[in-house]
Amino acid sequence: MHSDRAPTGLKIAAAAGLAFMHLPLLLIFIYAFTTEEKSYQWPPPGLTLKWFAVTWGRADVWEALSLSLRVAAISTAIALLLGTLCAAAVSRSKFFGRETISLMVILPIALPGIITGISLRSAFNLADIPFSFWTIVLGHATFCVVVVYNNAVARFRRISGSLVEASLDLGADSFQTFRYVILPNIATALLAGGMLAFALSFDEVIVTTFTAGQQQTLPIWMLEELVRPRQRPVTNVVAMVVVLVTFLPILGAYYLTRGTENVAGQGK
């Protein structure tokens, strides 16, 4: 009965589901070219490239973009360090409190972002820390750790312990073993995790609204435009560019971790 041909109903449902996930994003691409300024009129009355030039000339968009990129870069670096350390410890051995550690890493994304945001904000207030670039980074790095951790822990588990023992038997010390044996093995997983962490930070808005003072990251700029639309055509262009920019790390992460997935029924 179960041949390798899918039932037609399943095919249609799967295709419709995928279409549902992608058509709205496609729409963003079309709206970036519309000549209409005042409303979200469909179909677009005409197509133009004018808004790309206008957006290019906007200083506020560039500032927001630059802040977002800097925050994402530093948060990713911190997350890479902390996530890798944590993954190394958790995958290495069973120890007391191991479950607690994994839970603690997952918690910042398992709990709604607004809770992370408001707790950080009230903690900053209590400790009299003024909002700055670094308060944004603090929040972002916290929830980026889990992405790196997830990627790294999966890879660490696949590294056979005998590789490490062999390296040590051959006279390398722990640091050399890390540098020449472990690091090459986990490098692609870390790169993939790092890219995802970067994308996560670049896109984050809920926590950021609480941890940013006057600065605007790109998502906060977008949020302003969503709540009070002033520059619809510029927003359309920015939205399209953001979609394109986030696609690149995802495609990168995909190609880096490709070929490591399991075959049906052979998983853990």
């Binding site: 179960h2 603690m104 707790s119 051959l170 939205a239």
Partner: protein
């Protein structure tokens, strides 16, 4: 070879330290764990507890100043009809969004896990990953475009001469409204759209772990496809469904941006938290509201853990 000999000869505190690490694995674990544990423990858990502690304070109704004395008064306020409505509304929405996401995700995940091969496997994988990682705000924005009065959906209904159908639907109380973009149906659609990929991936992961031979055995033993689905596939996929529902449920519970942009004026938990901590300056009540999703998710995670959902993450 000669390199190795030279390296073995390395002496100094670094080598000694390295040897110590090897001899005392517990020390190594401790050193590895200390930075992440300190970061998460102090910055994250520290702030979280500071917030939760504030929910036991109250606000002076006349002066608007926070009274730093232990009281359960703030929690009682949660159960006033207006606030309790917000909680119920949010939980119902989260449940509806989760069910809809399961219904839409299952065929995608099942096809991807069972039938997609080679190139199609990649298409399905990226087809889920790209929307998952695309900007949250852009996704919300795209629905603002779709649901706008002059937008594509109304245009489509008009082109198909079905405007009467849409109007009839919007006339339904509770889920309807003046237009889709200010109705709960609109909010619901955006929630489902934005969280959908979070459901597809764990279901797919769970389905991929089911050997095809199990379904064949079920068929050989005389089960109809529907029976195989009900008694073999679904129970085995359940951990994946629960894992996905953790995301859809938790994310819906805490979101305050989607209902603010697409939806009616009646508030959700996230909006209440945001409003109380911001303009109202009532941090204790905001904190008490924040406890609600934490408690709900705590119970949820506990059930999920018992069902083995974490292996499917």
């Amino acid at each position: 070879m000669s390199d190795a000999v030279v390296e073995t000869g390395r002496k100094g505190w670094l080598t000694a330290f390295s040897d110590t690490l090897w001899r005392k694995p517990r020390l190594l674990i401790f050193l590895l764990l200390a930075p992440p544990a300190l970061w998460l423990g102090i910055i994250y858990l520290g702030s979280l507890f500071a917030l939760l502690a504030q929910s036991f304070f109250s606000i002076d109704e006349f002066s608007g100043v926070i009274v730093y004395e232990f009281t359960l008064k703030t929690y009682r306020e949660l159960f006033t009809p207006a606030n309790f409505d917000i909680i119920i509304r949010t939980v119902v929405m989260a449940a509806a969004v989760t069910l809809a996401s399961v219904a839409i995700s299952f065929p995608i995940a099942y096809y991807a896990a069972r039938y997609a091969r080679g190139k199609w496997k990649a298409v399905f994988y990226l087809g889920v990953m790209l929307p998952l990682w695309s900007s949250y705000l852009v996704k919300v924005y795209s629905w603002k475009l779709i649901l706008a009065k002059e937008g594509i959906l109304n245009w489509l209904f008009e082109a198909l001469h079905l405007t009467w159908l849409l109007d009839a639907y919007l006339a339904i109380p509770v889920i309807g409204g003046n237009s889709l973009s200010v109705s709960w149906t609109g909010t619901f659609l955006v929630f489902v759209y934005v969280w959908l990929p979070f459901m597809v991936l764990p279901i797919q992961a769970a389905l991929e772990r089911i050997p095809a031979s199990m379904l064949e055995a079920s068929g050989d033993l005389g089960a109809t496809p529907a029976q195989s689905f009900r008694h073999v596939l679904l129970p085995l996929a359940l951990p994946g469904v629960i894992a996905g529902s953790i995301f859809t449920f938790s994310l819906t519970l805490g979101d305050y941006i989607i209902p603010q942009i697409v939806g009616s004026s009646r508030r959700f938990i996230g909006q209440a938290v945001y409003a109380y901590q911001g303009t109202a300056g009532n941090i204790p009540l905001a904190a008490a509201f924040a406890v609600v999703p934490i408690v709900i998710m705590g119970v949820y995670l506990w059930i999920a853990k018992r069902k083995g959902a974490f292996d499917a993450l």
